[in-house]
Symmetry: C2
Subunit: 334 residues, 2 copies
């Protein structure tokens, strides 16, 4: 099938795996039968489960892996353990042409390092980035880097701008996405020298694939005026986790303030609210800058959340993201 | 009156000033008659207003200032304009012993620079910080720096830890506040070298005034397990504004999901929710590290919010914050 996307899944990664992965495949096949899954993990375990889920067996191939990278392992221990693990083998299969994309709900640090060891960087990219979907008033933005690297320079941020815009274009229908740098103010003198140099470079380039809109502040991320918000991995990770913490805090406070009667009366409203902001709907961070695409699902998400990551994988491959990134790249040498 | 606190107020700063300032003084005097206010601004304007508010005139003295620093002026233009402005004169009066503390709802960047020009740093402090109150599940935390400086080193973060804990002790009843560094993970290898060096210094010191608890992540700020969260001014500003944006986004989404009937039924619950998280209740950022205390009110807050800043000023002076900061200071030289 020409349109079929082959997704290599580390079937051992994340909470309740591999069960949730089979359930996610079932959910995803109801919507889209154009995916084929290579499942990497302990053969006995996977075979047992697939026998209970016969309806998906035509869409899955099992590849035995003796070892698993644990959630608690440091990225370096994980990388050393390497070659016989489900994570390693799933990404390696992509390099050998066996799969179009890899997906894992396992250890993030390990996934970053293993992906980088196996798949080389795209020519011209000095640092890969972890990009995530961020809900906003209109729909979704992309924010990157969410924590792949804490060291960066203006070349890194220029690359992030082009990679982020390529990803946005791959996932949403917009020809010229709006890109901005996350900063502590909108004026030109604000922020550190790397931000200022990045801004100068992007302002002076004849950009064809995205529009550079200068700086945005943290409170503007959710307004939906900017499609791609670019920052370094330290700041991006702090912003993401602070937003998650704040969202939980506000939601809990709100729930606690409702009495039982209000809760009953507002049942459908609350359901609507919960559905709209359901984090499973934007589950899946994308590792950008390597020769192949890798998607990281949240470890604690359920089958519905993992199914969203499968959908994301499909879109990324079908839109030819890697090629788009190459086209978007900006040379910053004089 | 021995217990009286004299607060120098830049009466021209912020939206709806000076009217909101007079209203705030009225609110505050109902609770606490132990404050005296020096109001800096255009005499004619202030006299007119005070004549309409006779009940507060015994608690206020007007000091004429010809000039005002605008909200749109850059900190450097503002500093140059200097000596005849209400902001400059109010802080200067503190240096001359005329007031115990200064309060302004004006231009933050200008306030930082003017305060620093007039009031010197406390011996041993290399960078001042802007500290803010952050609501959490239990009560309030203090987070600093929210944007006074973007350049920092381990000495800066060690100082922030001692200043933040002194502030926490001044505002809340806790002998040994818990202090942690904001980072992108809890493990020792996480973060940049400055964070690692700061952590090593604080772990190896025999701390008497606070407990060092290592690292916290952004999603832990609102959990209330840590009293003082220390970070650099760039990261702190991004975290604060991202949290504000997220809080607004969630609250609006929630309101939009309720239909009219649910809104009516949940009226009191919603009121309770709104009251609990009312940002006016933690209005006022504290500029720490100078020989005198300076409080910055949000420019757009109303009289109730400004009255909270007055209360904060009173607590800071009565608890002898500057002396506490000096006692908490940690030498990091060998």
């Amino acid at each position: 099938m020409a349109n079929r996307v082959t997704i290599a899944i580390d079937a051992m990664g994340g909470e309740n795996s591999p069960n949730k992965i089979f359930d996610a495949i079932k959910i995803s096949l109801k919507k889209n039968k154009n995916n084929y899954f290579h499942l990497f993990g302990k053969e006995n375990l996977l075979k047992d489960t697939i026998q209970k889920n016969k309806e998906i067996s035509d869409y899955c191939k099992i590849i035995n892996c003796e070892d698993v990278i644990g959630d608690e392992e440091s990225p370096f221990t994980a990388a050393k353990k390497g070659k016989n693990t489900s994570m390693w083998k799933s990404i390696e299969s992509q390099k050998n042409g066996g799969a179009d994309i890899s997906l894992s709900a396992g250890n993030t640090g390990a996934l970053l390092i293993v992906s980088r060891l196996i798949l080389n960087c795209i020519d011209g990219i000095n640092k890969p980035a972890l990009a995530g979907l961020w809900p906003n008033k209109k729909n979704m933005s992309i924010v990157l880097d969410l924590g792949a690297n804490i060291e960066y320079d203006e070349k890194t941020l220029v690359n992030f701008s082009s990679m982020g815009s390529a990803l946005f274009k791959s996932l949403f229908e917009k020809k010229i996405p709006k890109v901005a740098l996350l900063n502590i103010g909108l004026e030109e003198h604000k922020g550190n020298d790397i931000l200022k140099r990045t801004s100068t470079i992007l302002k002076n380039k004849d950009l064809k694939n995205f529009e550079f809109c200068g700086y945005v502040e943290g409170n503007q991320i959710t307004r939906g005026e900017i499609d791609v918000i670019v920052t370094d991995g330290f700041t991006g990770n702090i912003a993401l986790k602070t937003a998650e913490g704040t969202a939980n805090f506000i939601t809990e406070n709100f729930k606690n303030s409702l009495n039982l009667f209000s809760k009953l009366i507002s049942f459908y409203s609350l359901k609507k609210f919960k559905e709209k902001l359901d984090p499973r709907k934007y589950n899946g961070a994308i590792f950008l800058g390597l020769q192949g695409p890798v998607v990281k699902s949240h470890g604690s998400t359920d089958a519905k959340g993992f199914a969203h990551s499968i959908e994301l994988c499909h879109k990324i491959v079908r839109s030819n993201l890697i090629q788009k990134i190459k086209t978007h790249l900006i040379s910053i040498d004089p």
